[in-house]
């Protein structure tokens, strides 16, 4: 099986994930709540 095909499509050096406006605050809020909740669970468990 030959995996050395030559593909003429553009090859990216880097595939960035551009932010969608408004989602970064949502991420931080959810992360904070989730981290606190996880810390609470771990504290109760250990």
């Amino acid at each position: 099986m030959n995996d050395d095909h030559i593909n003429t499509h553009e090859e990216l050096r880097e595939l960035k994930h551009d932010p969608v406006p408004g989602y970064r605050p949502v991420f931080y809020v959810i992360m904070t709540i989730a981290s606190l909740y996880l810390a609470f669970i771990i504290f109760k468990t250990l």
């Binding site: 989602y23 771990i42 250990l46």
Partner: protein, 601 residues
């Protein structure tokens, strides 16, 4: 009387005939090999067989029990699937190596003694190396050589351990080994290297992505699983394995998330999944061992399926990096569906295989009150969904449209993936069939409301995290780069070592060589022309150091003169009487030494 041959023999002898056949006969023959081997295996009853004398020891070439049988079943299944996947490969060398490799893996799991295990262990290393080299690229050549070096080192540890173990116990039988001395530690490390323990793991992430498309499917199934089997047989209940396994489950996630090469992502994922198995073996309870073995069974199928899906993508597009792929679901919808099934299986979605197997290990940690380990495995479960469950299908088949338009993978590849996908769903939906063949009786029900709910929560929140990371732009960019891992040791360390060899060490060596082979011999040659004159020059030079100042000029002149006339006339200064005196002195010294040695006796 057994009407069968050794379980490894059908594959190993059968492999040698492959180059003699052509066309469809070859394809049919290759597909028939695992079927014949499986039928042969079913004829062999439990117990020890083919016991042969070697020196004063008995070697048990085949020992069949429930543990070895589970691995025997799955090795036959994956061999059939992988051969079907590779049936169109026009390289007999690859076919022979792959079938020999499968046979050697069977030899390992049915070995009743450590020497037999070692022989098959090394055959695996050599044949696996060929599957890496067979891609015939510069990268595969280098990676294959590194793979071989690491595995030969592991084999050496194993061999020395076996010899010491034999010396200590007088037995080569392969059973439980207590980790209590150098012999057992070396055997432990030998198994650990093949198991890709942290620090010893870079051979896997280095070599598997560089192997041939079909070779990687074989590689993902056998080497690490044979090590899991060997640990389950020899070191079940060894506590340190719990921590090693937890580290294996956790650390690859970070590398997998930032990795661009999707087959390398799967290689990290392979270490992560083997980590769960190692934890189960370390716990060593019936549930832990059952969980480890069941998860090995499931992992061989879903990891094989994922490697096959990525192999199909690579085969059709020639690309495997996230930066190059995307949007392939339009061109390769069936492969995309199979890939999603593999991703769901590895992520332990309900009704998919890992849900019924990985949870056994999790439950074993909970039952042993290993809270920290349980949390680490929970994190690892979320991580595996992140990098294998989402990243693999997302970047290959969805994500940004790379613009690549191709055809669906060949039929044999689709069939192989279809069989693996079916088995992933079958095991997840009807785990009782797998539980029945596990080493110990199973008293475990995966489909309880709390388990299903907890798992769905885990998956839902992991998916939410991925989505938010992507939308907020925090998710790390896929970059065409080499991420340095434990391979730092040979990527950077070897360069430093080579500099050390070619600069200071080389100069030191040249100085030694010049001194020993040039300066000293020529000095001795020069001195031998008149040793007495040399002694006189030396004694005058010594005298010069201690002489009073008014005598120094005279001594200097004398030395100068002695050097000018060197070697001079030897005979003139040394009459025969002096030589007789020297001979008498040497003779007296000899008599003295002889007398003293006689006194001592």
């Amino acid at each position: 009387m057994i009407n069968a041959v050794h379980p490894a023999l059908v594959f190993m002898a059968g492999a040698l005939l492959i180059p003699l056949l052509k066309g469809k006969a070859k394809s049919a023959y290759m597909l028939l090999l695992p079927i014949l081997s499986f039928m042969n295996l079913l004829q062999i009853p439990a117990g020890s067989h083919w016991v042969i004398g070697f020196l004063e020891y008995n070697l048990t070439l085949c020992k069949i029990d429930r543990l070895s049988m589970v691995f025997g079943y799955i090795f036959h299944i994956i061999s059939f699937i992988a051969i079907l996947y590779a049936i169109n490969v026009k390289d007999d060398g690859q076919h022979v190596a792959a079938v020999l490799y499968s046979g050697a893996a069977l030899g390992v799991v049915y070995a009743g003694d450590l020497f037999t295990l070692f022989i098959f262990w090394e055959i695996m290393a050599v044949t696996a190396t060929y599957l890496i080299w067979a891609r015939r690229t510069k990268a595969s050549s280098s990676a294959g050589m590194r793979y071989l070096m690491v595995h030969l080192f592991g084999g050496l540890c194993l061999l020395v351990g076996i010899i010491l173990q034999l010396h200590n116990t007088g037995s080569v039988e392969f059973g439980h080994i207590d980790l209590d001395g150098l012999a057992s530690v070396l055997i432990f490390i030998g198994f650990g290297i093949n198991c890709a323990w942290p620090g010893f793991h870079s051979w896997l992430t280095d070599a598997y992505p560089e192997a041939t498309i079909t070779g990687t499917v074989f590689l993902s199934a056998f080497t690490t699983k044979c090590a899991v089997y060997a640990l389950a047989r020899g070191f079940a209940g060894t506590e340190i394995l719990i921590w090693i396994g937890a580290a294996m489950a956790a650390f690859p996630i970070f590398y997998a998330v930032i990795e661009n090469d999707l087959r390398r992502v799967l290689s990290y994922s392979l270490i992560n999944q083997v980590g769960f198995m190692v934890v189960g073996i370390g716990i060593g309870t019936e549930l832990g061992i059952n969980g480890a073995v069941a998860h090995a069974f499931a992992d061989i199928l879903f990891k094989g399926l994922l490697f096959m899906a990525m192999g199909a993508v690579m085969h059709q597009t020639g690309k495997i990096n996230c930066t190059d792929l995307g949007g392939l679901y339009k061109s390769m919808p069936v492969t995309a569906i199979f890939c999603v099934i593999g991703a769901a299986s590895i992520s332990a979605f309900p009704l998919f295989s890992a849900f019924a197997t990985k949870s056994m290990v999790m439950d074993a940690t909970a039952k042993d009150h290993l809270t920290v380990i349980w949390f680490i495995l929970l994190f690892a479960s979320a991580g595996v969904f992140h990098h294998a469950g989402i990243k693999i299908p997302f970047f290959a088949f969805f994500s940004h449209d790379s613009g690549i338009r191709t055809k669906e993978a060949p039929l044999n590849m689709l069939l192989a993936m279809g069989i693996a996908a079916f088995l992933c769903i079958f095991i997840g939906s009807f785990p009782g069939y797998l539980y029945r063949i596990l080493p110990y009786p199973v008293d475990y029900a995966p489909y309880t409301a709390p388990h299903v709910m907890a798992q769905l929560q885990l998956l839902f929140f992991s998916a939410l995290a991925f989505t938010l990371l992507m939308l907020s732009g925090i998710y790390p960019a896929e970059i065409r780069a080499i991420n340095i891992d434990a391979d730092w040791a040979y990527r950077k360390g070897s360069k430093a070592f080579m500099w050390l060899l070619t600069n200071p060490m080389s100069k030191f060596g040249a100085w030694i060589s010049r001194t020993v082979f040039d300066v000293i011999p020529s000095a001795l040659g020069w001195a031998s022309r008149n040793p007495v004159a040399i002694l006189k020059i030396a004694s005058d030079s010594l005298l010069l150091k201690f002489a009073v100042p008014e005598k120094r000029d005279e001594i200097r002149r004398r030395i100068q003169r002695e050097k000018e006339i060197y070697p001079g006339d030897i005979i003139r200064h040394w009459p025969i009487g002096t030589r007789v005196l020297w001979a008498i002195l040497f003779f007296l010294a000899y008599l003295l030494v002889n007398y003293l040695s006689g006194v001592k006796q």
